[in-house]
Symmetry: C2
């Protein structure tokens, strides 16, 4: 069996040498209550970058020379736990190991007939929950309002935009390639898209595509893209601060536009969050997402990388935007 450890705390953009792949003899014997899991899919997510640093944060940092962990879909190979039987598929926050023992705590069974296994890491997993809870709980979207989404072709962003459309909003997405902008409009039903890599004056471009101003901004990126959106917000705008991928790899605290006077001028709200703040809304969220998925109103996109050993590279590729939609590693 193989495991991926955090070898060094990355400086700036993570490098392959920050990780170590170790091979161990399998010696997995079960005690009562335990089960053996074989990993099927690993979720790679931008937020993991935060856990690789030792800065104060909402979850404790990964320990050096210990396994990385994230959302994982696994198959039960053997079980001495009454809640699970051999052949079950489960989802949980698990180690980046090809096999592992679990006590079953915080594992959820997933049904491969309702959706593909990898969907439980995406639209029906933390990704979908993040999109739904952030947009509805903080964004408080109203029909006819304008929603701007950054990182719009990413895992969370592509779902946020689609939910916005389902709720009757005018939706503008920001992404980094023409191909992604095309995808926003043709696959995800956004009203408009902007390629920030080929647009000189982002603030003016946003103004053109959001002529009534921005009521809700779902922010996955931070930095200068967010500055340009902020220059277009309406009174009582809600800024859902979900991610800041543009600054995660900075080695110094980044500077950008001072936001306070804009928040005052527009009586606007900025709320940072992590999805687990909204746990009481998860059942409602899963219901809505499953229903929309079944009705064909929600499309999900995945970038699937093959091979356990490629997990670190898949993670690193998030920061150059190589993924479209949810990035997962298939074992």
């Amino acid at each position: 069996m193989q495991t991926i450890l955090l070898k060094r705390r990355p400086k700036g953009i993570p490098k392959i040498s920050d990780f170590e792949l170790v091979t161990e003899n399998e010696n997995l014997t079960l005690k009562n209550g335990e089960l053996i899991l074989e990993t099927c899919y690993i979720s790679v997510d931008p937020y993991l970058r935060g856990r690789m640093s030792d800065a104060k944060s909402y979850i404790e940092p990964f320990a050096l020379n210990k396994p990385i962990s994230s959302g994982v879909i696994a198959k039960v190979l053997d079980s001495k736990n009454k809640k699970f039987i051999k052949g079950d598929y489960v989802s949980g926050r698990l180690n980046w190991s090809t096999k592992q023992i679990s006590t079953g705590v915080n594992l959820t069974k997933v049904d491969s007939e309702v959706a593909t296994l990898s969907a439980y890491l995406g639209v029906l997993g933390l990704t979908g929950l993040t999109a739904y809870c952030g947009l509805t709980q903080i964004g408080k979207p109203k029909k006819g309002e304008t929603l701007v989404v950054s990182g719009a072709a990413g895992a969370v962003g592509s779902i946020v935009g689609q939910i916005g459309k389902i709720l009757g909003m005018h939706v503008v997405g920001i992404a980094g390639t023409d191909e992604k902008v095309d995808l926003l409009k043709t696959k995800f039903g956004f009203d408009a898209g902007i390629n920030y890599n080929t647009t000189n004056d982002m603030a003016t471009a946003i103004k053109k595509l959001a002529p009534n101003g921005v009521d809700v901004y779902f922010d996955n990126v931070g930095g200068s893209i967010s500055d340009a959106v902020l220059l277009n917000i309406n009174q009582f705008a809600r800024l859902v601060i979900c991610g800041a991928i543009s600054v995660y790899n900075n080695t110094e605290i980044p500077k950008s536009m001072s936001v306070q006077h804009l928040l005052i001028r527009n009586s606007a709200l900025m709320q940072g969050f992590i999805v687990t703040n909204y746990q009481e809304s998860f059942p409602e969220a899963i219901n809505a997402l499953s229903k929309w998925l079944a009705e064909g109103k929600l499309t999900h996109n995945e970038t699937i990388v093959s091979g356990f050993e490629n997990s670190p590279q898949a993670f690193i590729d998030l920061f150059s935007g190589k993924n479209k939609g949810k990035m997962v590693v298939k074992i």
Copy 2:
């Protein structure tokens, strides 16, 4: 009678030459429903700077060559309005004129026996309402939490800190002179104060005086002082964005620390506001403020400048922090 007009839109810090004092013949004849007012006190406030620019904002800009207006306490000299009689004192948003005619709309009678007339521009006026509504509605203060206030010796800040103490918080104030910091502790009952003009490392100074971290930040200043506070916020911190006096006179959009990643890391809220958003809470606020004032739990401080013609200079002096507490002009 005399009136002060906006002569030019200020560039950077306003100058006396941006204003014009004009003397007119008094020719005030009353129609039915009208009253003649003689100005007693004029409120000068940082937010007026915003109205002197023609940038998009929550209230329309002052027109050039027209009177400035702000909170004013006036005496009724004559009345053809059933709601007011000669000798009444009223409060309202009125012109910077020694005398003027009013229709009585949006005027409120004030009782000079309950509090001094100028208090109705301060602790019992928009200043007190701003402090109370911002702190309670956005800050949602809890006993035992830590409150940091910037512009703490100013009109709003000194009331915010006192309300924080009444509600059982640990209160730290930031101000610009040792004399003001002294005042915070001896007159307003703050637990601690920091002079930002003599402190090199503000983030460390705040950490020392707010050892449990910052739960609520009442921000009157923006800029680098706010950056230093943000580096000390706790999970679920509430940042009440009331003023940004440090940047009001900037001619370019200022840069400061990027806040988004800190908001995410701490699931923190930043909410900009103007007091009129919370109009439904005004009766509750006035009740609480009057009660605390009568009980001696709330002290208010005023800087009173004499002479109508000195109103522009009093306003300009706000930006160099010449006031302690509420700045008013006595006519």
